[in-house]
Every structure is written in C-alpha cells, then in structure tokens.
Symmetry: C2
Subunit: 260 residues, 2 copies
C-alpha cells in the first residue's frame, strides 16, 4: 500500500520576524493538503530579550554558548512566546495545531553535547523522535508546531539546532509516511554565487553535490544544511526542497535535493 505523504516544514527565525512575509507563508501553510508538521527557529528576539534582561551572550568562534540564562530565555521566547503565537494564528486560520517542545510527550529526546575543548552548555543532539506520539496527533488532524528545544531522559531542556530537529522528525516519520522536508529561509535556494540571490541551483543530486563540494561552490553556512539533507535522504526521506517564504507555492525558483 502506498504511504500517505507527510510534509515537514522548517522556517527560520528571520521569516517569523517579517510580519507580512510570515502571514503569506502561514496562508500557504494552511492551504497545504494532508498531514504536516511545522518546526520553527527563533530569530533575534531571544537575543534582544536576553540583552534587556541583562544577560550576556557568550560566544566561542562565532558560535553561541547556551548557558543557564540562555536556555531560560530560549524556553521563554521560542518555547513560549513564538510557539504559542504561531499556534494561535493557525487556530485563527482554522487549522488545529499544537505547540510542542521535545519535552512534551517526550517527542524529541536528546543527549547533552559532550564537553570537548569548549562547553557549549545546554545544547542537545537528537537521539530519538517519538513518531508514535506525533502520529497520534496527526491522526486527529492536529498539526504539531515544534520549537527547537529537546529534552534528555533525565528531564533537562536543551537548545537544539532547528534544521536538525526538522530532519530528525522527517527521518523518524518516514517509517509511517512518505516524508517530504522543506527548508524555508532567507535565500531562494542553494546559490551558485552566495552574493547573487538569483543564482539558484535548481536540482542537486548526490553526484552534483560531490561536484559542488570539489569546486568549493557551496558557502560555509550551507554546508551543514546540505550534509543534513543527504543524510535525511539516506534515512528514508523522499524529497527535500529549499527556498524562501514562497517555497510552499512551488511557483518560484527553489532547490530540490534528491539522490538522483
């Protein structure tokens, strides 16, 4: 029997902060037919709130360290304010949604990242996605909306990379659904020239990916994203698309990633 299609959509924090673009995105999102899951990042609001509260952001080589104050703000802003507001907006658009962190229903279980040269603090790497629980929501026509917060078996909340959360959910749900993964971010797709937003590479196969890597076409920020994508394809995810806030319309240009 052919599996039903499930769409897992990750949206970046910058999109959420742009009111008109985000409203357009949400309208496209509610128009999508069939089961779907939304995963959201946080954007600059957490940094802004942390600053106002007098918390200092610690960085190491450009990467944020999630100390005890940071995880507090992340839980407030991503897990609370942004998550509940997206759910409320979806309810207003007649889409029954539920806001979740990884702690809720133990939906995303992680391990705290081991301390090596640097202690990145309350940061987790996903170990297990509770696909059965998530599916119980989908079967009730409820759309899960995930903030990128996971939880250890011991009950510790951890900041987690939003792209990884989306990819891990898509991978886990592949046992039940034919899963499609969408990344909506500020670019129109993977760019051949990082300076030119119109230089979208429309199709990236595994072979093409190897070529792009060799030619050093892909910019630094894009590398982990693409690495995640091919790993997800290997773990059963069917299709991956990257593009801007118009991605769900599939009218504009975007990047499609596939094994062949």
């Amino acid at each position: 029997m052919k599996k039903e299609v499930l769409k897992v959509i990750k949206i970046g924090g910058k999109l959420i902060e742009n009111e008109s673009k985000f409203a357009e995105f949400l309208n496209d999102f509610v128009d999508l037919e069939g089961p779907k899951i939304l995963v959201h990042g946080g954007g600059n609001l957490a940094t802004e709130i942390a600053g106002k509260l007098g918390y200092k952001t610690q960085m190491f080589e450009g990467r944020r360290i999630t100390d005890v104050d940071s995880i507090k703000v992340i839980t407030m802003v991503y897990g609370g304010f942004i998550n509940k507001n997206i759910v409320a907006k979806l309810q207003g658009l007649q889409t029954n949604a539920i806001g979740l962190s990884g702690a809720d229903g133990m939906s995303i279980i992680s391990k705290k990242r081991p301390v090596k040269e640097v202690d990145f603090g309350f940061v987790g790497d996903v170990q297990k996605v509770n696909s059965k629980f998530i599916d119980s929501l989908l079967k009730q026509n409820i759309t899960p909306v995930f903030s990128a917060i996971s939880c250890t078996e011991e009950g510790l909340l951890l900041n987690t990379n939003g792209d990884s959360v989306a990819a891990e959910i898509a991978k886990a749900m592949s046992s039940i659904y034919e899963t499609e993964l969408y990344f909506c971010f500020e670019k129109k797709g993977v760019l051949a020239n990082a300076e030119d937003n119109d230089s979208v590479i429309e199709n990236i196969t595994r072979k093409k990916y190897q070529e792009l890597l060799k030619e050093k076409v892909i910019s630094d920020g894009m590398l982990p994203k693409l690495h995640n994508c091919f790993e997800a394809l290997e773990s059963g995810v069917k299709n991956i698309c990257l593009g801007d806030f118009r991605l769900l319309k599939k009218e504009s240009v975007y990047t499609k990633i596939s094994n062949e």
Copy 2:
C-alpha cells in the same frame, strides 16, 4: 458502569517559586495513581521579567490590566518557561506529560472579557473545554499540564484565571470521568480566622457555606474560589479539596467541599 476517577490539580504560583516545597509536591503528584491533569499559575516571575523589560504593570482597583506587553510576558513566562520546566521535571520523574495553553488543540476556548467601566485588556472567560482532545491524551497515559492561557476562536491568546481554568476543565471532564478537583495554595485550607493558618474548616457543605457567608467568616480572596467550587459541584464535579503543598498526601489538615 462506574466511571474512572480523574484528578484535576491546580497549583498556585507561590508554590512553584518555593523550590523545596514544589519538589515535594511534584513527588506526591507523580505518585498519584490514575489519570490526572495539572493546572499552574505563574507567581511573581512574570511581574519581575516585565519590570526588567521596562514594561509597566497597569492596575485598576488592585486588579492587573493585561495590556499587549503583559500578554507577551505571560505567554513567555507562564506558557513557556514555567510550563516547559514543569513538563521536563515530570519527564525526569518518569511521568509522561505535555504542556498546553488553551490554543494547543483548541483545548480551552474563551471569549475576551467585554469592556465595561474598565478595559482589562487581553483577559478571557472560558467558553468551552475540548474534553475529547484532553481525553485522547489521558488515554495515552500522558498528563496534561496547563498554563492559564486560553484562546479565542479567532486565535487571540488571553490571560485567564487559573482557578477558573481548573474548574472548567474538571466540569467538562465530568462527562467522561468521576472528577476530583484539588486547589493547592499557600494556606492549609479555608480558614475560620484568616490570621490563623491552623483554623482550617475541614468540611464545607452547601449549608455550611451559606452560614459562613452570613457570618462573614470567609475572607475576600476566598469568596470567588468558593463560589467556583460550588458551581463546579453543581456541574458534576464529585469532590473538591483545598490545602497547601502537602494536600495530595491527604495526611495533613485540609478543607473538603461537598454538596452535603
């Protein structure tokens, strides 16, 4: 067929803020057998965060006005920080829980309080509890943990009285379960003398309640709580108990409210 017993437990913000008492409460909570629901208030953390963010708390005759900044902070602090931390703690105690606002699964639908002499802002009165959705969680052995935030049909998040949320949930679930309602707060129960924490009135029937009202024994803050209690009993709730953080042990003194 006899209905299964469901316990709905409301805890006040002051209890959450007391680390050792709250830990003791949570241990008793996870030891409770059978299906259960937790409803939590927020305490002073929201006021503290609002102050640090430079938001001014507007009051009218001792009652807080929930303006646009207040509902933002309430959603962050109650709906995010406190809610997710309780859920994570319960997971660490091997109790599978899920944190919810009224927007999630449209579990608590409310109407914005109409503006009369004063506009109390983003404040809602509960209209409908989605008992079917809540029961679908209980049937999966998941314990719902509610922050006192409700949502209108139009997708507006509203600050809502925590006692009312607990009572409305208990009332709605009475169609499926034999429902018991517990209020854990800073007093040992309803007091005959507001100054003396040992003057607990152990049993309050409807007749006794009328007497206490006549004799003006019950202090101002207790009046709406007791009014809610008898309304809940009328709507099918079986038992109501009021006491401090040890209430769930049922060893210490507490107040039991019943029709007769």
